[in-house]
């Protein structure tokens, strides 16, 4: 666990380091990625993944909001790894330094965009994340922020999607459990394609910002959240802080 630093300390965390000049790496030549993090009470890392970023109706706005929040780490996986060459060491170090790991992504074919799967396959190593000596992630929180194109009613046994949304997320839930992490109820927006017309983008993005800030400030009530199936922008389980 990383040491807690005063709230005001700004640490430039641009990892992997920008690659200047020559080098064997074909990691996109000169990449300037940077995210600035202000250490809070609970350290939070947001992994954002959307391959069609610029066509997104909701996620790109959520991502921009998340990236602007001080004191959390925001990672755009497709930006850091446009050629999927995920740096396992960097990612494991990132995990060690944070208490809450949140994946933000649109639901593609009842699952994550492919880069998250690649990330899991590589980063959650035996001996690190699981296995008899793999306890590095134990006790941390895993959370998801997902958008789905179908309406809420579709995700029922009588609905078009046949299963509740949580059922589709069970692979991630069980991944968290195997790593000794707590899996918290996901922050969800249904009917994301209709959200702009329905005026839902703004409240959902606003709720997302509140949610992330609450986690950062330890005001998010994980216990209350655990009694819920999914979390929406109205009715966020946010307390007054501890």
């Amino acid at each position: 666990m990383a040491e807690r630093r005063p709230l005001a300390t700004i640490s430039a965390r641009s990892m992997p380091r920008p690659k200047h000049g020559i080098g064997p790496a074909d990691s996109g030549g000169n990449e300037f990625r940077g995210s600035f993090r202000l250490r809070g009470m609970a350290s939070l890392i947001v992994y954002y993944a959307h391959p069609g970023h610029k066509f997104s109706h909701v996620n790109q706005h959520m991502a921009r909001a998340a990236g602007a929040i001080d004191g959390i780490t925001f990672v755009d996986l497709y930006r850091d790894y446009p050629r999927f060459d995920i740096d396992v060491n960097v990612e494991q170090k990132r995990l060690l330094e944070h208490d809450v790991v949140l994946f933000q992504f649109p639901l593609f074919w009842y699952s994550t965009p492919s880069i998250i799967k690649e990330w899991e396959d590589l980063v959650l190593e035996h001996g690190f994340a699981y296995g008899s000596s793999g306890d590095k992630l134990a006790g941390k929180q895993m959370m998801l922020a997902v958008t789905g194109a179908g309406p809420a009613e579709a995700y029922t046994h009588d609905g078009f999607q046949q299963y509740p949304l949580r059922t589709f997320l069970t692979p991630l839930e069980q991944t968290a459990r195997l790593c000794g992490m707590h899996f918290s109820a996901p922050y969800v927006l249904y009917e994301s394609l209709r959200a702009p017309a329905a005026g839902l983008v703004e409240p959902h993005v606003g709720g997302y910002r509140q949610l992330l800030e609450a986690i950062r400030d330890d005001r998010y009530d994980f216990d209350a959240a655990n009694r819920m199936d999914v979390v929406h922008f109205d009715g966020l389980p946010i307390g007054t802080g501890s």
Binding site: G28, G52, F55, D76, D80, G150, F160, L193
Partner: protein, 649 residues
């Protein structure tokens, strides 16, 4: 001069006609040459050609062949062969000679003649056997290696035999010697020899010195000399030097009374690790081939049919008896030495003839009054006939024995296969990286480059590089193009690269070619020449630069990546279409189809530039564009979903 040309013409015509026919019939080149020799022998008689002296000249091919064999054999391998060389080879000579001596004595010959005959006939034909083994690709097999061990021992054994045979001289024959001496080629040796007048230990010293000179000179002198020659950048100088090297060593050996074949073989072994190995190999190979061919022709031409007809039954019986006896000894030895399967038969049948050293020794025995002329003439016929039958014995092996053991043979051949890897032509900035990647992945590569300075530096790093111009088919052959899986062409001259592609795709279609292109037009040329894996040398770095530029302008890295990927797909497609209509014989601007296609692409390109990126934009973004809301199927509202369920029932 005219006579020489006429003679050369005759030999060449005979060879050029007979050998392809023999090969076509599956008889192998050796039999082809022999038949060619038989065919022209009446003509040669008419012209009063001294076939035997031509034969002595052609025997130098054997010397060259042993040099080449040595080049293929690293000292380490030779050392690991020592048991077979001494054990198998020694026993073969001893047992065969003893058996023949015994039989000759039973037939009523005095012991001295019997022993001389035994020694002469115990030898096999290095020329025929090695040539045939190489031709059939059996040289590296267990049977091939065992055969080679025996042949090498025999070649070495000739020297003590030459020293020993005069001791068997029969006083009654001395009168005949005077007349016989002039047709013995061996007298040349004596005239040159330095060591005749020396006593035993001096002789030993000189011998050791000569061998030391070959080993040390081969190890330390050839490299600077080659570097010196490379400065002239003249191809024929290498050939000249290679010939000089072999002839020089042969002379040295003759002077000190050793076998020239042994000396050049030793030099070959010393140079087997050198980066000039393939260059030497390809320089000497054509000479060796021609001289051996000439040698076989003279063997065929030297058959004295008048004598044969006179004593047909006797000669044939002796020949068959000899082959049978030698085969029996070889078979027994192969059992004792654990040579199994098809290899045992290759060994047994391959070495069952008498050899060209038999000719040398026979004239030597006559000259030294050991064997009467009449008997020697008959034995000469036996030796020749047995050599003539050897290709048939190999044929018998091919048809009767090899098929029975096909499975085991294939497996063993793979295990000792040292070629079959990747040939990298050009080890500069481009080829060097390809080679390093291949090596790091555990593949075996043979690198060809013709910059001498370059090579020695690389050698120091333990990279297997060989000096030579990859453009030369003979060098490609020496580098193992027949067995190679792949050829990487990374040479700087664009025309040469194209030509090389054309040559290899035509002559070795099994070889996969990866080739560097200088620019688009070079791509078309290479495509036209038959290459299908063409890498433009600056294309990938340009793409990365483009991608970097996009990112620096604020484009999301993943979008930049996909943009560039789309560009590549599009570019490749255009390239392929243009390559298919490109014709190197028509200038691009006169090629109507080519011009039309280019125009079309330019139009599309302009549209893309103006932002109508339907050209490759649509393909680029496919999969990430959200479904349209107008389509009820894409996003089922509750009603649509219910309808769907109804339909389903």
């Amino acid at each position: 001069m005219d006579e020489f040309l006429l003679l050369a013409f005759l030999f060449l015509v005979a060879g050029v006609i007979a050998v392809p026919i023999a090969s076509q019939l599956g008889l192998g080149s050796v039999l082809g040459y022999l038949i060619a020799g038989i065919a022209i022998s009446p003509l040669l008689q008419q012209l009063h050609v001294d076939v035997v002296s031509v034969q002595h000249f052609a025997e130098f091919g054997v010397v060259m062949m042993l040099f080449l064999v040595g080049l293929e054999l690293e000292p380490r391998m030779l050392w690991s062969m020592r048991d077979r060389l001494l054990g198998l080879g020694g026993l073969q000579v001893a047992v065969t000679a003893a058996a023949i001596t015994g039989i000759a004595m039973l037939l009523g010959q005095p012991w001295s003649i019997a022993l001389a005959v035994g020694l002469v006939l115990s030898l096999s034909s290095t020329a025929i056997v090695l040539q045939t083994l190489n031709e059939k690709g059996l040289m590296k097999s267990d049977g091939g290696q065992s055969s080679f061990s025996v042949l090498l021992f025999q070649d070495i054994a000739v020297i003590p035999m030459l020293a020993f045979i005069p001791l068997l001289a029969m006083p009654e024959l001395v009168d005949v010697a005077a007349t016989a001496a002039h047709n013995g080629g061996v007298s040349d040796h004596a005239s040159l020899s330095l060591v005749d007048r020396l006593n035993g230990w001096q002789r030993a010293l000189v011998t050791a010195g000569a061998i030391g000179l070959v080993v040390v000179g081969g190890s330390y002198l050839t490299r600077p000399v080659f570097r010196f020659i490379a400065m002239a950048r003249l191809r024929e100088l290498f050939t000249a030097f290679a010939l000089l090297l072999i002839i020089g060593i042969a002379l040295l050996m003759i002077v000190v009374g050793l076998s020239p074949a042994l000396g050049t073989f030793l030099a070959g072994v010393v140079l087997a690790n050198s980066e000039y190995r393939h260059e030497l190999e390809s320089d000497i190979d054509p000479f060796k081939g021609l001289l051996l061919g000439l040698f076989f022709i003279t063997v065929g031409a030297a058959i004295r049919f008048d004598l044969l007809v006179e004593n047909l039954a006797g000669v044939v019986a002796m020949t068959l008896g000899l082959i049978g006896l030698k085969a029996a000894v070889l078979y027994a030895l192969s059992r004792a030495f654990g040579i199994g399967g098809a290899h045992r038969w290759l060994f047994t049948l391959g070495l069952a003839q008498a050899g060209e050293f038999g000719f040398v020794l026979l004239s030597f025995t006559v000259a030294n009054t050991v064997i009467p002329v009449a008997l020697a003439d008959q034995l000469l016929l036996v030796v020749t006939l047995s050599m003539l039958l050897t290709p048939l014995l190999f044929l018998m092996y091919d048809k009767m024995f090899a098929p029975r053991f096909v499975a085991t043979q294939n497996r063993e051949a793979d295990a000792i296969d040292e070629k079959g890897g990747v040939i990298v032509a050009g080890h500069g900035r481009f080829g060097g990286i390809v080679n390093r990647i291949l090596l790091s992945a555990g593949f075996k590569t043979v690198v060809l480059d013709y910059q001498s300075e370059h090579l020695e530096r690389l050698r120091a790093f333990g990279i297997r590089v060989y000096f030579g111009d990859a453009m030369r088919p003979d060098l490609l052959h020496a580098a193992g193009i027949e067995e190679a899986k792949m050829l990487v062409i990374a040479i700087d001259e664009r025309e040469s690269a194209t030509e090389l592609v054309r040559y290899v795709t035509e002559n070795h279609p099994h070889v996969y070619i990866v080739v560097r292109a200088m620019d688009r037009h070079h791509v078309y040329e290479l495509w036209n020449a038959g290459a299908r894996d063409i890498i433009r040398e600056t294309f990938d770095s340009s793409l990365r630069a483009g991608r970097s530029a996009l990112q620096a302008l604020g484009v999301h890295p993943y979008d930049a990546e996909r943009q560039v990927k789309g560009f590549v797909l599009n570019d490749r497609e255009q390239m392929l279409e243009l390559a298919s209509v490109y014709d190197p014989d028509i200038p691009a601007h006169e090629n109507v189809e080519y011009v039309e296609k280019t125009k079309k692409f330019l139009e599309r390109y302009e549209q893309t530039m103006q932002g109508n990126s339907a050209a490759f934009g649509s393909r680029l973004d496919r999969g990430w564009v959200p479904p349209s809301l107008d389509d009820p199927e894409t996003e089922p509202a509750t009603e649509a979903a219910q309808q769907k369920e109804h339909r389903g029932q």
